[in-house]
């Protein structure tokens, strides 16, 4: 059984300007200990997908449709109380900006203890032991002493490690990592990437690694889900997708990777711009930018499964398999 099974998730924001369909048809599955890369350009709905999984979509947004099964339990429609009990213990999240996530006025130790006590009483000793253990795991030197430090006494990379430690406190089955390295130096990015991969492997925690950078994600994730305009347009094992992308958007993304370009030539770019989610025409949202588009693309393709892979396109690259 998958730890997480997301089916046709739709999260809309009911704003004054109209309904923003930030997530509008997201499906994927996540196996135990697996790392799934969720890629897509800015505004494609990756963060909103992440928040939806934790039941943390702020008004005026809400999940309007779909199913999220976490360890076999349906989260959509679950009471706030029950959702809260699952957050932190079964699923947790690490955010993009480590400067903003920790409370500047509380020590690391206090914040870790709060997270521990969110799910039952923990004595002060046990809290220190567990916090120290996790800080050591994420690679913070002299963890016991650091429990008494405040966030501003850490570098950005170290703060992100603390946030990861907090997310790991209850050994959840799934951690959503929302671009946790984007705000950091390149050298530190790689370290954090490796730390998280090793920890996920060691604890059996599955990771959803959100990123707009296909190059970063593909070095880490065993599977990929590619998002466009609120939809997952292609899903499958990383190696297969990189070698043989089926959705024209995925193909475009891969072609625009610097590593794919012939030295000395300009990078390929997908023509056109991301559509506004407020005024999306009916049919395939990528059609206006797509060289394969035909009459058929005025109706919307659904994600169809083909073995371990899936894509939502009437005219996949390389033709429709028999």
């Amino acid at each position: 059984m998958s730890v997480l099974d997301v089916r046709d998730l739709r999260t809309h924001f009911f704003t004054r300007a109209g309904v923003v369909k930030a997530v509008d048809g997201v499906s994927f599955t996540l196996e135990k200990g697996e790392i799934l890369g969720l890629v897509g350009e800015s505004g494609s709905g990756k963060t909103v997908t992440g928040f939806s999984l934790l039941g943390l979509v702020d008004p005026p947004g809400r999940i309007v449709e779909g199913s999220i099964r976490l360890n076999g339990k349906e989260l959509v429609g679950m009471s706030d109380r029950d959702l809260r009990k699952r957050r932190g213990r079964e699923i947790s999240m690490v955010f993009q900006d480590p400067i903003a996530t920790l409370n500047p006025m509380l020590t690391i130790g206090q914040q870790m203890r709060m997270a521990l006590e969110a799910h039952g009483r923990v004595g002060p000793r046990a809290a220190v032991t567990r916090s120290e253990e996790l800080l050591a795991k994420v690679g913070i030197p002299s963890p016991r002493a650091r429990l008494r430090s405040y966030p501003h006494e850490f570098s950005g990379g170290m703060r992100q490690r603390v946030a990861i430690a907090i997310a790991l406190l209850h050994s959840p089955s799934v951690i959503v990592a929302d671009e946790p390295t984007t705000a950091l130096d390149v050298s530190i990015q790689a370290q954090i990437l490796h730390t998280m991969r090793d920890l996920a492997r060691e604890t059996g925690t599955a990771l959803i690694w959100i990123s707009h950078d296909l190059a970063v994600v593909s070095s880490l994730a065993t599977r990929l889900a590619v998002m466009y305009a609120g939809r997952v347009v292609e899903e499958g094992p990383t190696a297969a997708i990189l070698r043989d992308p089926r959705h024209p958007y995925t193909a475009g993304l891969i072609a625009s990777l610097p590593a794919m370009a012939e030295p000395g030539t300009a990078l390929t770019q997908i023509p056109g711009t991301t559509p506004s989610l407020l005024s999306l025409p009916p049919g395939c949202p990528f059609a206006p930018r797509c060289t394969h588009a035909t009459e058929a693309c005025t109706s919307e393709p659904v994600l169809e499964r083909h073995g371990t892979r899936g894509w939502a396109c009437f005219h996949p690259v390389g033709g429709v398999p028999a």
Partner: protein, 324 residues
């Protein structure tokens, strides 16, 4: 930390010194007090003697140093009008103002912050909207008018509460206090409400804006993602994060209300310093005015100093800045 305290203390001393010069010169420039002190039919000799006795014949700078020297010894001079030491005069009035102002500012803060946090936490509920409507009222209705309406309603028509004065007092630490007796308390209610209304409105708005902003931050989102309950988030995260602007405004309000509670004190015949200073200005009682202004400056400096210290105590970033 000690360095920080010393540095802030020196700053306070400089501010006080500058203030004393400004106040002294400012007050010296207005009017000639001699005409008030001396009867118009006094002889030239008496006139000269009085001027000499008051030190008004000396050059300005000498008068200033005399004045500062006396201040430092706790001698603020004698009132021209009442002919008693100014310090006794103001000291006799200060407790009344102090208890009125503290009551109203504290009530306004506790109540305003609670209501404001609620209104910011559930901004779309009908209760939040009611709270905000009341706060708009508190802002837009003039204070003297509210005072009169309060007296009309609760003192004249309903007869529940007295309309003015301090009522019975008990003496603690050599100072008479109203709020320690039931009768005194009933006297303090109306003026305190009058004085608190505007501050209540302001605290509500401040706390609401802060709450709305803080609740949308990643800090709160991250806490929620860790499964921390809403009540813990409100108590441990929100209250801490919101305390900085609240304490700042609390300090400012406390200072300005202590200094300028005049309108309310006048309406409710509250025998505080506000009334005293208005009377003193009317008759150009210079020592009282000077001493009062110095006292107000001292109050502000002390409050600011305390606020800075409190910041350093509760905010580790300020503490770090203080160490650096």
């Amino acid at each position: 930390m000690l360095g920080f305290v010393i540095q802030r203390f020196l700053q306070a001393v400089v501010v006080m010194a500058v203030m004393s010069v400004i106040v002294f010169c400012g007050v010296y420039a207005i009017g000639n007090p001699v005409d008030i002190v001396i009867p118009p039919d006094a002889t030239q000799d008496i006139r000269a003697a009085t001027i000499a006795k008051l030190g008004l014949d000396k050059p300005l700078w000498e008068q200033y140093f005399l004045f500062v020297g006396n201040l430092l010894q706790g001698d603020f001079g004698r009132s021209f009008v009442y002919n008693i030491p100014v310090l006794d005069l103001i000291g006799g009035r200060l407790p009344a103002t102090l208890e009125l102002v503290l009551t109203s500012v504290l009530t306004a803060t506790v109540l305003g912050v609670s209501l404001g946090i609620y209104a910011g936490y559930r901004p779309d509920g009908w209760l939040a909207k009611t709270i905000m409507a009341v706060s708009v009222l508190g802002f837009s209705v003039p204070s003297f008018w509210v005072g009169l309406i309060l007296i009309l309603t609760f003192a004249v028509n309903l007869g529940w509460l007295p309309a003015g004065g301090r009522g019975a007092t008990v003496t603690v630490l050599g100072v008479p206090w109203s709020f320690l007796t039931l009768d005194g308390l009933s006297h303090i209610v109306l003026p305190a409400i009058n004085l608190a209304l505007f501050k209540l409105a302001m605290m509500i708005r401040l706390a609401r804006a802060g709450t709305r902003e803080i609740m949308l931050t990643d800090t709160i989102k991250f806490a929620r993602a860790a499964g921390i309950s809403e009540s813990v988030i409100l108590r441990r995260h929100l209250l801490k994060l919101i305390s900085i602007p609240i304490i700042t405004v609390f300090g400012l309000e406390l200072g300005s209300t202590l200094a300028f509670a005049v309108v309310t004190e006048t309406i409710f015949s509250w025998p505080g310093v506000g009334k005293l200073i208005i009377d003193s200005i009317a008759v150009l009682d210079r020592p009282v005015m000077v001493a009062y202004l110095i006292l107000v400056a001292f109050l502000f400096v002390t409050i600011n100093f305390t606020v800075d210290l409190v910041f350093a105590l509760i905010d580790p970033r300020v503490r770090a800045g203080a160490r650096a």
